[in-house]
Amino acid sequence: MRPLGELEAEIMNRLWTWGRPATARDVLVDLGRTRSIAYSTVKTVAEILHRKGLLRREKQGRAWLYEPTCTRQQYTASLMQDALGDNPDPAGALLSFVERMSADEVEALRSALRAAKRRSGT
């Protein structure tokens, strides 16, 4: 499954960079510059991305035009919302190293750390 996952990223990156709708064939031509890849593979992965809701498509003539549903920044923001949100739901879906803290708490951590450094220093 790994190569398909990488191909997903490559297709999305191209569409984001181009900033316009494109067909699977357009993507294939660009990908084909660096390696050989089958049209059916590109088409399949584009359909997977469409099914996942990352691409929307529109029929033009006989081909489908694909376009990202959101910008890269919007998706990244949504990803980070999951990671940095206050209440992950359900619990345990995502385990953060530290949860977000209030400014006072961060300050308390800093002085605790400093005090410990002084203690070990002397």
Binding site: G5, E8, A9, M12, N13, L49, K52, G53, L54, R72, Y75, T76, S78, L79, M80, D82, A83, L84, D86, D89, P90, A91, G92, A93, L94, L95, S96, F97, V98, E99, R100, M101, S102, A103, D104, E105, V106, A108, L109, R110, A112, L113, A115, A116, K117, S120
Partner: protein, 304 residues
């Protein structure tokens, strides 16, 4: 009815008194793994005790005089032919409430695990197109300035690190944090979270439920910390904790409860030795006793 009353009293003790004592127990932070087990023991005990109490009410004490055989016969676990003939306890209506008390948490557990997967799937879809797998860190790197390190435990296990975190942490610190996250994955901590959540859904507003969820979450973080400490120093992990927290936008302070990170950092900086082996055995034996007592109350002829 004596047994039903005794069981109800015991459930009250386990569900509303014991959690306050255990949440304040000083040994818990020194032996977090044992403490997690004790919390699970209390949850299991409460569930079984309530089920048995309902069962006794339903059967109106019929079987109690016959002790264990009577109980098992009534449960259908013991061939009726062996039990006294009067016990035609195959009445399904009597078994329904106690069965529900046991099946409900199981159902909530499955639902939570399923919802966890669904939430992760969406996250993984985005991660596949936004993240860059790094073999150096054995993690997925996301291009974002806010430092964050987290993992998606379960079937599609992944550790995720933002560029901001790589920038904020030293190499050594980052390795310590990654070790912490891998401990969550290896320990299947998402299932532990699901158990606590399922219990709270079944018994909302029960002090034991709330405390168990909060405390096990904190204790699981501590066990992950301990795992990271096997190969990294306390100072490294503590400093990493501060660096990640300091780089994030602070949240508005609300509620009296401080964050668990402050408790964890304090624990890292002022280490206390693990309780003595005998103490740990005593705690384990004690909680086993707590679990067995309701069975004795339910089956013991004394209570008849």
């Amino acid at each position: 009815m004596t047994a039903a009353l005794a069981l109800a009293g015991y459930a009250l003790l386990v569900g509303a008194v014991a959690p306050y004592a255990l949440a304040r127990a000083r040994w818990a932070h020194r032996a977090p793994r044992l403490a997690v087990l004790v919390w699970y023991g209390l949850m299991a005990t409460f569930t079984v005790t309530v089920a048995l109490a309902l069962y006794h009410v339903a059967l109106r004490e019929e079987h109690v005089h016959d002790g264990l055989v009577g109980l098992l016969t009534a449960c259908g676990l013991f061939p009726v032919a062996f039990g006294p003939a009067s016990h035609t306890a195959a009445d399904p209506a009597a078994l329904l409430p106690p069965a529900l008390v046991v099946l409900l948490p199981a159902g909530w557990f499955l639902r939570t695990v399923w919802r966890t997967r669904r939430a992760q799937r969406r996250h993984l879809d985005l991660l596949a197109v936004l993240g860059r797998p790094s073999s150096e860190y054995d993690a997925v790197i996301v291009d974002h300035d806010t430092p964050a390190v987290y993992c998606l435990p379960g079937r599609s296990r992944r550790v995720v690190v933002t560029r901001g975190a790589i920038r904020a942490l030293s190499r050594e610190q980052l390795q310590a944090v990654l070790a912490h996250e891998r401990a969550h994955i290896a320990g299947r901590h998402h299932l532990c979270h699901a158990v606590a959540e399922a219990f709270e859904r079944t018994f909302p507003r029960l002090p034991l439920a709330r405390h168990a969820r909060e405390q096990t979450a904190l204790l699981l973080e501590m066990t992950a910390d301990d795992r990271a400490l096997r190969h990294h120093s306390r100072e490294t992990l503590a400093a990493a904790m501060y660096e990640v927290a300091a780089g994030q936008t602070p949240r508005a302070a609300f509620g009296a409860g401080g964050s668990s990170a402050a408790v964890r950092l304090c624990r890292l900086l002022t280490p206390e030795a693990e309780p003595h082996r005998a103490t740990r055995l005593g705690i384990a034996a004690g909680s086993l006793g707590v679990m067995l007592l309701p069975l004795l109350i339910a089956c013991g002829p004394v209570m008849g």
